[in-house]
């Protein structure tokens, strides 16, 4: 694995490139991580997933969006529009580094939503894998805020704390007003380009995707639904500060990407 900085010299992004360890495939894989506390939880799993895909012959790039992780920028400067632009920058970097013409993009939670938005305008994305995507930004934020309030109630000195939109934070990450409004307006209405395969992967506890997947399938033939037999406890209060994810995720996602049974 090669850690690297790429993108604009005045605002570099951190990335981790995993070179293929088996006979190289002609398609690269870009991993789009989730945001906020979900990013912290998913990090090691994404590292391991990238390593697993590299062993299967894929060149893989993971990266941190602007204002997140080790990338440049303060948290408060981040925006969905910027993150979407970062996906384009990362795809170009992956194609250039791995000398591939086409890529698959796998995104988790908000990372999946951003990946789908970026895919609308690109012809070089052969495949999208959307894992527990955020399909309703308003509901996503409402759930995060509910969890934040619930957590705050358990803290000393928080009894009189009330949630005030526009000046808040979610589990230690800022949620400034402009970012909040961008996320609230997210609704997965994007139509994947014809010829692109789309896999929607839902963890246990995320069965609510059925109507959205059906609507997507009605518009786009190559949409496939997969159930991941592990729990996606993104909203468990006891889990939000934990940097680990359930076992079983890796083999299922690796198998899905490699086209072999789990």
């Amino acid at each position: 694995m090669l850690p690297l900085y790429f993108g604009p010299a005045d605002a570099p992004l951190f990335g981790a490139f995993h070179a293929p360890e088996a006979a190289a495939r002609s398609i690269g894989v870009l991993l789009c991580q989730p945001l906020g506390h979900e990013y912290i939880r998913a990090h090691r799993t994404f590292n391991q997933l990238a390593a697993s895909l590299a062993r299967a012959g894929f060149p893989v790039l993971r990266f941190d969006y602007f204002g997140t992780g080790d990338s440049s920028g303060a948290d408060e400067q981040a925006s969905v529009a910027r993150w979407t632009a970062d996906v384009h920058t990362a795809i170009d970097e992956l194609k250039d580094t791995a000398s591939v013409e086409r890529v698959a993009v796998l995104g988790l939670r908000l990372g999946a939503t951003i990946a789908l938005a970026a895919a609308e305008t690109r012809a070089d994305i052969a495949r999208l894998v959307l894992w527990d995507p955020v399909i309703d930004g308003r509901a996503y934020l409402a759930e995060l805020e509910r969890l934040q309030r619930q957590w705050l109630k358990s803290r000393p000195g928080s009894r009189w704390f009330t949630f005030r939109p526009g000046v808040e934070e979610i589990f230690g990450f800022p949620m400034p007003g402009p970012l909040r409004r961008e996320i609230e307006s997210l609704a997965l209405s994007a139509a994947p380009r014809r010829g692109m395969r789309v896999d929607v992967v839902g963890s246990l506890g995320h069965e609510g995707y059925a109507p959205w997947v059906s609507a997507l399938q009605a518009r786009h033939a190559a949409v496939h639904w997969h159930e991941l037999p592990v729990r996606g406890d993104w909203t468990e209060p006891d889990q939000v500060h934990v940097g680990v994810m359930p076992a079983g995720v890796l083999q299922h996602l690796s198998a899905l990407m490699s086209g072999r049974p789990a």
């Binding site: 694995m1 090669l2 850690p3 690297l4 900085y5 790429f6 570099p12 951190f14 981790a16 490139f17 506390h37 912290i40 990090h43 090691r44 590292n47 997140t68 992780g69 080790d70 440049s72 948290d75 970097e93 250039d96 580094t97 957590w151 803290r155 000393p156 000195g157 934070e169 589990f171 230690g172 990450f173 800022p174 500060h241 934990v242 940097g243 680990v244």
Partner: protein, 309 residues
């Protein structure tokens, strides 16, 4: 401020990944380099990206830092040998110190970590004379009589303590009313009366001797505790717990009773970062005279593993 990705060979087949943050003017020769260790299993950006914010504030204050993933965490490989968690932490931090000494000429280091990172910081400091400062955040606690008195007085004032006692859910309640009362009274099962969390494993006397050794070596120590460690509950408790240690002005105790173990709320993160940066400047500023006398180490491309594809 500039940041570069480093890879460090740490033995046992593990390559570690870290990010070196340096002030815009380069890495100052006179000041120590801070090494920020993992908080438990959370990767090098820290809980809520706290380590990144701290590293960048340190760089603005003229202090370079390396935020490091130890083996098996973040982007670093798992080890192939059979070193224990504690042993591997010590070996790997020393490998990082060696690396920074050879690559950028750093000679002195301040180790900083939350929870397991605090413990590793102290262990390495005892073994490596290049460590001149330790910031131990939410590390091991050694309760004093005063701390236990304050702990129980606070508990007495809380309704849930009484409910838990009457329903046999806490240690005292279990003794008085719980299912394991009989076993507890007969001594067959240990039902600890002391709160369970974060009491140091090492014998107090041995830790005191280690602290005296560090102080004699000139190491500056900052301890940080939060409301998540209820058996630390007043500033001065570390000094009280080790009355035989002559700390002089080399111990700074910070207590944030409203903060939690990983400083989740952003205002508390900001206070912690400000206090750590101010302490670093205050404790190590005397060396700035040496810095003024000699040019800073440049962030020369050939001295670090700059990876720009």
């Amino acid at each position: 401020m500039s940041e570069r990705a480093l890879t460090i060979a740490a033995g046992g087949g593990a390559t570690l990944v870290g990010i070196l943050s340096a002030p815009a003017s380069g890495i100052p020769r006179g000041l120590p380099v801070a090494i920020i260790l993992n908080a438990g299993l959370i990767h090098r950006v820290g809980p809520h990206r706290l380590h990144v914010r701290l590293a960048r504030r340190l760089a603005e204050a003229g202090i370079a830092s390396l935020r490091l993933d130890l083996s098996g965490r973040g982007d670093s490989d798992a080890r192939g040998d059979d070193l224990s968690f504690a042993q591997s932490g010590i070996v790997e931090v020393r490998a990082a110190i060696d690396h920074l000494e050879q690559s950028i000429g750093a000679r002195r280091f301040v180790l900083l970590g939350i929870c397991s990172g605090a413990d590793t910081s102290g262990q390495v400091a005892c073994l490596d004379p290049r460590v001149t400062g330790v910031v131990a955040i939410e590390g091991a606690t050694y309760p004093t009589r005063k701390a236990m008195r304050r702990y129980y007085v606070r508990r007495l004032g809380r309704l849930d303590s009484w409910v838990n006692t009457l329903t046999g859910r806490n240690a005292i309640g279990r003794r008085l009313f719980g299912r394991c009362r009989k076993a507890a009274l007969s001594g067959e099962a240990a039902v600890p009366l002391a709160p369970a969390r974060a009491v140091g494993d090492e014998p107090r006397r041995a830790v005191g001797a280690a602290l005296q050794m560090l102080v004699d070596r000139g190491v500056h120590i900052m301890t940080v505790f939060t409301g998540s460690t209820p058996v630390y509950n007043y500033v001065g408790q570390v000094a009280d717990a080790f009355p035989e240690v002559r700390f002089g002005d080399q111990l700074r105790e910070m207590y944030y009773p409203r903060a939690n173990h990983t400083f989740t709320r952003m205002p508390e993160q900001a206070v912690l970062i400000g206090d750590v940066v101010a302490w670093m400047r205050e404790r190590f500023d005397a060396t700035l005279e040496a810095r003024d006398a000699a040019p800073d180490w440049p962030m020369a491309e050939e001295l670090t593993e700059v990876v720009h594809l």
